[in-house]
């Protein structure tokens, strides 16, 4: 799902749930998601299938898992 498709669906759901105040927050989240997906260390995320960016395994020392 692209970011734009997600945002349209999320806002429609917020309207359906009478949570209209959520829509500006969804816009802000969409901006953050766009930044997340576009980060240089994550550049394959929105591209065509290809070599996957390695997802994290369990932290070796358990510090943040």
């Amino acid at each position: 799902m692209t970011n734009d498709e997600w945002l349209v669906a999320a806002k429609a759901d917020a309207d359906r749930r009478q949570l209209h105040e959520l829509k500006p927050l969804l816009d802000a989240l969409a901006t953050a998601t766009r930044a997340l997906r576009g980060a240089v260390w994550n550049r394959h995320a929105d591209g065509p299938p290809g070599p996957a960016t390695a997802l994290p395994g369990p932290d070796a020392d358990g510090a943040a898992s």
Partner: protein, 461 residues
């Protein structure tokens, strides 16, 4: 009576502003009785609490009973160490047996907790007197302390300003002399932000070092428990007591004093006065023969995007039942942020987890060959209550985002971070300097912080 009655050294009102490490010998010798110290603290609370609103519950009767027992124990030669008889407060997100854990919310019940959280039990075992439970931003999900079922906590130096949060009442209780130390929680900066705003020391230890059992979670992979106090030495006393009950070792002066300063990102959006105060502190350190060299922290600009996806997802999971059962009972803004988390896609949560590893490696790399990283804690002075935006560096920024900007990265990576006071704005509002150490080396970070605190002491006069 409070201001004029004398016993031991100084007046009773003076006692309430003393650091813990300067009380111990007087308590052990009986020059200051614990009963008198607790009475002085309760007097202080009676005087200031109506205007500050730092507590959800004051445990006056229990504190007096515990004080009487402490005096009996000390008189019988059973002195337990530097926290024995010292009044401390606890953020009302953490269980204290016999008192409700409200999380400053109407969502929670008011039934008393059946047992102390382990960190509280350890403080009690060290002899600390629990003086009360502290107000906070509802469920610790905010940076100002404004969204609370008990009303907002107010800054001790300016009642129209927020003291920072979410450990708002905790910080105010110590800054105003209503407790000698406190226990807070920190998911994006909730210990360090109010510490900086109120002129205190606030420690977020390495992730997982202090037990979060008995503490209501917000985002379990980001949540930390930690102390706030008036100086690094007191902070270490409380940290050690909560960690393993051990007496703090003597501070070890670092053989090398080399700090890395990550200027890109961390100095890019700062209030002018905060920037001036922090730069002055860095200059003072260099004048004292510390090395402070520029150390870019790679990918720091991705912090907000990464942390937002982590915290929203996890908080929504923690509060899923609450949202289904009684969504209207949350404060409006907290409810909306929790609802927002329900829209984060699993694939983006996974990306954010990857980003967490990238940031962790970047912090480790920046620390290579250095004792700690040094940067501002809070980009703005304590903000006005009710403000949703503030002007910073020529732009208008949301209060929540700008307050989290410099702290939340280290929640994601798990590195220990401590905020120490480094000066004031022209209006007298405190500013904080943040030091970040290697994971699992919190004591070494506190060594650096204590040495740094000594160098900066005259900037606080």
């Amino acid at each position: 009576m409070t201001a004029t009655t004398t016993a031991g050294r100084g007046t009773r009102a003076d006692w309430c502003q003393r650091p813990i490490h300067r009380l111990g010998s007087a308590i052990e010798s009986g020059e200051i009785t614990v009963t008198a110290l607790v009475d002085a603290t309760l007097d202080r609370i009676a005087e200031l609490e109506p205007s500050l609103n730092a507590f959800t519950t004051v445990l006056a009767d229990r504190a007096r009973r515990d004080a009487e027992q402490a005096d009996l124990d000390i008189a019988a030669g059973r002195y337990r160490g530097p926290l024995h008889g010292v009044p401390v407060s606890i953020k009302d997100l953490i269980d204290v047996a016999g008192a409700a854990t409200t999380a400053a919310s109407r969502v929670t019940g008011r039934a008393p907790a059946g047992a102390d959280a382990p960190v509280v039990a350890r403080l009690r075992a060290a002899g600390a007197i629990l003086i009360g439970k502290c107000n906070l931003h509802e469920f610790a999900f905010g940076t100002t302390g404004e969204d609370s079922a008990f009303g907002p906590t107010r800054h001790p130096l300016d009642r129209d300003r927020s003291p920072g949060g979410s450990s708002s009442g905790s910080a105010v209780s110590v800054a105003s002399g209503m407790a000698f130390a406190t226990v807070g929680t920190d998911t994006g900066g909730s210990i360090r932000i109010p510490a900086a705003a109120c002129g205190l020391v606030g420690l977020k230890p390495t992730f997982g070092e202090l037990s979060c059992e008995g503490t209501l979670p917000l985002a379990p992979s980001l949540d930390h428990v930690g102390p706030l106090a008036r100086c690094v030495r007191d902070t270490r006393l409380v940290y050690h007591a909560m960690r393993d009950g051990a007496t703090a070792p003597l501070s070890d002066t670092p053989s090398r004093r080399r700090l890395g300063c990550p200027r890109p990102y961390f100095f890019e959006q700062l209030d002018d006065e905060v920037r001036t105060v922090c730069e002055r502190a860095l200059t003072r350190l260099q004048d004292a023969a510390w090395t402070v060299d520029d150390t870019p922290l790679q990918h720091a600009g991705d912090t907000a995007a990464i942390c937002l996806h982590l915290i929203l997802s996890e908080a929504a999971a923690v509060h899923a039942r609450g949202l289904e059962r009684c969504a209207e009972t949350y404060t409006r803004s907290v409810r909306l942020r929790l609802e927002l988390g329900r829209y984060v896609l699993a694939e983006d949560y996974a990306r954010a987890q990857h980003g967490r590893d990238v940031l962790r490696d970047a912090v480790d790399a920046a620390l290579e060959g250095r004792d700690a990283l040094v940067l501002p804690t809070l980009a703005i002075p304590a903000p006005p209550l009710g403000a949703s935006t503030v002007a910073v560096d020529g732009t208008t920024e949301p209060v929540r985002g700008i307050m989290l900007r410099l702290t939340q990265l280290f929640n994601a990576t798990g590195h220990p971070a401590v905020s120490i006071p480094c000066g004031h704005t022209a209006a007298g509002l405190p500013c904080g300097l943040q030091l970040v150490g290697r994971r699992h080396q919190t004591d070494q970070l506190l060594d650096v912080a204590e040495a740094c605190e000594a160098v900066l002491a005259d900037l606080l006069a």
